[in-house]
């Protein structure tokens, strides 16, 4: 299978040749397969947001290439706009970017810019609204009359309506209550399963990353530190903690016990699996094996 999105030796510098020069992204290479969900973690300033903007052509790399569906997106700089439709980017707190008179127009803004027919736009708006479980009777309302959770879903629908091959979300659950968070996570998973689009999402919440991702990309100071399955990544808590990143609490608890001499398996990152591992250990009774 060929990757839907791949980054090859990406390099990006802010304020080049000024005293504020900052190497935000240094030699990052990774590939995302069609239909894959990839979680991106890294502390503030690790280059996550810069990377996301490189992936859909909002920023142009100083060197290296971004390939979407087999095409180098900067081959013809004049054609860069189409890649912004193919790689949909949902910024942090996207609800602050709602602007149109009605929710329907707001969601339809992307498709309209793509030059689609009125009829197609309408179809896509309804489809996107359904995908994010946005109540259709609220579509004629002003986006400013919606609740926080509704606004966030409307904003995500605006990107989904362009039907991108890759959907990138920057901290999609930030600031939401547990119920709102769960709704957004379920929605991302459903969107991925229904459309087969690849999803990349940035999160500070390791529980969310553990629950949703097939692979996890870990960034630190603009560099790629780890890229692998959640099991592979979370079985290296020392590396993560060195970068002052959290590991899921289930992993932390089992690790603490391992360090006290209980031979528990590494790389467990969900609560149910942790419980099963503890029960297994108690039954088999191989205590103090380490």
């Amino acid at each position: 299978m060929t990757p839907i999105l791949s980054a090859q030796n990406l390099h990006f510098v802010y304020g080049e040749k000024t005293p504020y020069e900052k190497h935000a992204v240094t030699d990052i290479s990774f590939s995302v397969m069609p239909g894959e969900i990839v979680g991106i973690i890294g502390h503030t300033g690790s280059g996550k947001s810069t990377l996301m903007q490189l992936l859909n052509g909002l920023l142009k790399p100083h060197s290296g290439t971004v390939i979407v569906d087999g095409q180098n997106i900067w081959q013809d700089p004049k054609a860069i706009r189409q890649y912004r439709f193919q790689v949909g980017l949902v910024f942090q707190y996207p609800e602050y970017q709602l602007f149109d008179e009605t929710v329907e127009k707001d969601i339809g803004f992307g498709p309209k810019n793509m030059g689609l027919s009125e009829e197609e736009i309408r179809k896509r708006v309804l489809r996107a609204a359904e995908m994010v479980e946005f109540p259709p009777h609220l579509l004629p309302k002003s986006p400013f009359d919606l609740s926080g959770g509704e606004k966030r879903r409307a904003a995500i629908a605006g990107v989904i309506a362009m039907e991108p091959k890759v959907l990138i979300l920057d901290e999609p659950t930030a600031g939401l209550d547990p119920k709102g968070r769960q709704t957004i996570l379920d929605m991302i998973r459903a969107y991925n399963q229904k459309t087969g689009a690849a999803v990349l999402f940035v999160s500070h919440n390791m529980e969310d990353v553990a629950a949703l991702s097939q692979r996890v990309l870990v960034l630190s100071r603009g560099k790629e530190v780890l890229f692998g399955t959640p099991k592979e990544v979370f079985s290296q808590p020392d590396v993560l903690q060195q970068m002052s990143l959290d590991v899921p609490i289930a992993t932390r608890i089992l690790d603490a016990l391992s360090q006290k001499g209980y031979a528990l398996q590494k790389g467990i990152y969900t609560i149910p699996d942790a419980a099963k591992e503890i029960v297994r250990f108690m039954k088999e009774g191989d205590r103090h094996a380490q």
Partner: protein, 282 residues
Amino acid sequence: MEPIIQINDLEFSYTVEEDATPIPLFQGVSLSIEKGSFTAILGHNGSGKSTLARMLNGMLLPDGGTVTVNGMDTTDQDSQLAIRKTVGLVFQNPDNQIVSSIVEEDVAFGPENLGLPSDEIRKRVDHALQAVDMLSYADHSTNRLSGGQKQRIAIAGVLAMNPSCLVLDEPTAMLDPKGRKEVLDTVRRLNREQGITVVLITHYMEEAALADRCIVMEHGRVLLDGTPNEVFAHRQTLEQTGLTMPAACQLAYELQDMGISLEPFPLTEADCIAALEKTLSK
């Protein structure tokens, strides 16, 4: 212990659009907050948490019932300044709470408005910055701070008013894990070392587990009220309201379902590790 805030039969309705019928939120809520206590308020969006926070220093006034701060009624115009000096509010978005371009000027904004002499302002600003561990940033620009630092500056701005109670409305919701820890550590220290009463509104169950008392709100009512231990024992009620449990609790419940009971029942990660160690070493 005597209460610093006393709420009796609070009633409040809000209006979404002009001329629309008001929607009732609180219909007879009574609560009291003890001096020096650390209370966490939980509840999903729309449960009335933030409205309640704004009632505590008279930013919003009750339609019925009373809210009193140190015996002063929030509807009494003459007490308004004294009430706002007693109860300080900190909000969610750090960027919305900074008013100056220099850290110490921002913190000085409150005391300046009180018309205090400048040496007293200086003293209070230094004190407040010290309390949130930001004194070395006094002459820094506010726009280059991290979210956690900005939020600590916002807290310092409130502390410079010498409040006896801090009400924080989801102060960590927009922060990364590091910022969240900085703010939470600061708040806990202020409570323990300076005896400041804290009311913390949060979505993070791990934060709530550290409080002396947890109040769970739903549809403008108090659903659960007790120590974290008491509140998190109501597994089903919490799940029904769409709130999750602290991860340590979740693990303990999961194990309980599989026939293993942890003693004492853990709320925090450290307690959970200790309890598991005890169970495993048997």
